[in-house]
Symmetry: C2
Subunit: 288 residues, 2 copies
Amino acid sequence: MTEWLQDMGGPSFAQIYAVSAELFRGRSDFQEIRVVRNQDFGVMLILDDAVQTTERDEFIYHEMLAHVPLLAHPSPRRVLIVGGGDGGLLEEALKHPLEAAVMVEIDRQVIEVTRRFLPDVPRGAFEDPRTHLVIADGIRFMTETAERFDVILVDSTDPKGPALGLFAESFYAAARRRLTPGGLIAVQSGSPLYQQDLIRMVRTNLQPAFPRIATYLASVPTYPGVLWSFTLGTIGDAPRLPAAAEVVRRTAGFGLQYLTPLILRAAFELPPFIARDLGIPAQWTDSA
Amino acid sequence: MTEWLQDMGGPSFAQIYAVSAELFRGRSDFQEIRVVRNQDFGVMLILDDAVQTTERDEFIYHEMLAHVPLLAHPSPRRVLIVGGGDGGLLEEALKHPLEAAVMVEIDRQVIEVTRRFLPDVPRGAFEDPRTHLVIADGIRFMTETAERFDVILVDSTDPKGPALGLFAESFYAAARRRLTPGGLIAVQSGSPLYQQDLIRMVRTNLQPAFPRIATYLASVPTYPGVLWSFTLGTIGDAPRLPAAAEVVRRTAGFGLQYLTPLILRAAFELPPFIARDLGIPAQWTDSA
């Protein structure tokens, strides 16, 4: 009998996936790790019953969490990734002309399992000489490191277990101290359909350290509800959205599969019902 | 024990909804009609096991299928809606200064059930003096009527049973003969994630009658996979996308909850992976 994986959205809706084969199942010090095959989405990585990434659409989440903040910075050289053990975010970030990408992941097994069963997610990212992999608690790393970064990306699981502290005001304050002038932070901030409280919490907790905040959206088919949010915080001026010509120039050769200049810009235009649900002023631009 | 409704996307994934109450269940001459309550989406209308519309997010689908084509026409006066028995599309269309909206629905019971259990979807649309409701087969109506319309909207279920003929080349050819000069047609064309064949079929079948075709997307949370496509066909020039100022002016007072000028424009910019899957040239605009 076919097993159906169930990934809950709200209390009364979920996405379900038929498991055509189980490739790996194990428990690390931090979470249950599963890798299964599904006819529609290919190989899927599941942590504690929540789908994290799939062969078929991993690029959407990773392009949106990497390139939007990296393009919002005029010339990022040093990037810090917190979490993101599957390496997909690292791979996208390394497409930029960085000097260094430091990745701090708490769970070594997630990296090992992804590299074995989903090698096309990180591709060669872990072998890139600019990559510095640190197996550690991101919260502790953030308070202890003396390094500075132009962009910090937080690719966490849901706010429970080891990831909870990654949504705290104290973590964001520590992150700010690790940024160069003009630096910025971007975090995955959950579903605008059933995690409005999470998005509000992220925005509230970012605010003291990052006075300018913008939430943007993308459609990630493997997450329940599909519409997904990311939140970007800057120290000084409001996040700078690059003009289309700059996006085209700076992403030439990236082979982007989701992001285009107009999709980048429209990602920040929240549909009015979402802005209202979040208590955010509508961000309409009349210049479209 | 809770019943979970299952709405299939691909062969191996689905969205599921817990039924907190069943409000109606019956079989019309054409299909099984159910109305249930769900904690996340409110009251839901289900036809033959496929969720059609919900209290919570009906406006997204209906705004996108009504206003995009109506705004692409400089001054629509007469609109024909084929299907759309829940009345949500009719309600949106009537926000424009129309002279007449003719709605041809095959299944009277869908209208009756919606008006009873989901009255906020049509609101007063069926009582509007500009509404002309025809209970008939849309395919037959299209070949028999002598009326002409500026815009035709096809709000069908999936291409099976009574809806199958609404995706046929002969239907689109008949529709073209019912359009005024400069007229256009818009149809719901399914999921760009797992109904690519359907979208390609719609585009192929529209082509002989409508030389200019554009597919656009929206995020409709209650449909499996959420990303949803609509396809617009024009007789003469390529579909004309109104400038932001015109959108603002023509939709003033509409109370739109999803559509904004920039979202309208970006809806036509298919993410590259979708354009590739559909075999459509990427529609990038560099002027963002």
